[in-house]
Symmetry: C2
Subunit: 261 residues, 2 copies
């Protein structure tokens, strides 16, 4: 963490694009807690997962969007934004990276598809404590005031920690209800809940088929310690996330098989 | 698993595109082990991570590329291919999903950026046992013969299991050495090894800056049970992978903090 003399550097990114109300709310919530620098995509990047741009070059432009706060838009993905911020803008690791506030849920299995969470994960891999925030309201004019309240509580708490796990990574989802209805922050595990997908099959004017992804969200996990349960019960869900994907339980089982050395 | 009368359905996809030698090698390796169906992207999708296409429609075309084997190319990402295959082509879950063989490594942290592994993970989330294969050789004319040998061993073994974990997911990387030099299949954990990225800064003819992602691969994990170690020592690395990203260790630590309910 930064010394008393030095303000902590707070890197902010998102996947909805730099002009979205969600990222503006995030900036407003933390702007007096450190030196805020915004590096975010110039176009929506929802559902980009952990995509990086390897086959084409990236562009970066300084923007005047948040008053006296330094802000850059890039032509890259959320993950590209974090990489560019560290290497080309800050020339050092920030003290914390915040991603969001996403317009829409990123709980349960959605963490894997989420550009918001991938940016946060990229920072965590680089050894930067990181949080992704998502509000369960897809609308452009969603009310981010309750979210800002909890953003501030969490970021203040993490910045004041003297010894912090540099890979700390939290997936925070906020229910779309008024502040007074929210019961607090709840530590959870990722639910096995997902979209049971199907595609809407349509015909174009030339008589050729095309397909739109659609689907129904189903919770296959009935336990009470999941993010889906917490959100249904008006808690802010906080899921600690890791980037080591090794399935140690399965590894142990497979060790019994003679196929492996 | 399929009954004796019914051949198991083997879904094959990749991220390099349907015309790549890697996917052809995968088809050749398993074509007599079941009914093979190929559903793969119509263009390279490397580094796409777990991207899905939500803002635009998808196209799908039947191709004659692999003799009498059913094959479809789609305009989507590797993850889209798995979704389309289950919902619109097979109309059921295949018995196994194979992704690759990727031209280039997907060990260590690369599993997170990899389109090859994301396709396999998507299948695993859907309850389809799944394996992603990658050869440590980026070249178009890489020698896939040693890879085919190990693909066959692993797929045969999994298809013969009577009770299989339906979420089984393996990240398999093959060293780029002749078959006789490969010491066998080694169960490993994901190494904390990554590209220490930097961007190559250039100037376009109009005098505007642009940036190309580049970087040096560094292994920060010196233990001998990692995929990076196994590959360096001429083993085929096999890392069991999970899609529950909850960091239970960090969750336990954070439970001591009064901030959380």
């Amino acid at each position: 963490m930064a010394t008393k003399k030095e303000l902590p550097i707070i890197l902010i990114t998102n996947d909805d694009d730099i002009t979205s109300p969600g990222i503006r709310s995030l900036v407003e919530a933390v702007k007096d807690l450190g030196r805020v620098v915004v590096v975010a995509p110039d176009k929506p990047q929802s559902g980009m997962g952990h995509a990086i741009t390897i086959g084409s070059p990236l562009r970066m432009n300084k923007m005047n969007l948040f008053g006296d706060i330094e802000a850059w838009q890039t032509s890259g993905t959320p993950v590209d934004c974090v990489k560019l911020a560290v290497d080309k803008i800050l020339h050092r690791k920030p003290d914390i990276c915040l991603s969001g506030i996403n317009h829409g849920a990123n709980h349960s299995i959605n963490v894997i598809y989420s550009g918001t969470m991938s940016a946060a994960m990229e920072a965590s891999i680089e050894g930067i404590p990181s949080i992704g925030f998502s509000l369960l309201d897809y609308r452009y004019d969603a009310d981010f005031e309750p979210s800002k309240h909890f953003v501030r509580i969490l970021v203040t708490e993490i910045l004041k920690q003297k010894k912090i796990d540099k890979h700390l990574l939290l997936n925070v989802n906020i229910p779309a209800v008024p502040l007074k209805k929210i019961k607090g922050l709840k530590l959870c595990k990722q639910a096995y809940a997902k979209y049971d997908e199907s595609f809407d099959e349509r015909m174009d004017p030339q008589g050729k088929k095309y397909f739109w992804l659609t689907g129904e969200f189903k919770n296959h996990d009935k336990s009470k310690d999941t993010d889906v349960w917490a959100l249904k019960n008006n808690y802010v869900s906080v899921v600690p996330i890791q980037f080591d994907l090794t399935n140690y339980t399965l590894k142990k089982q497979l060790e019994k098989n003679k196929l492996f050395k």
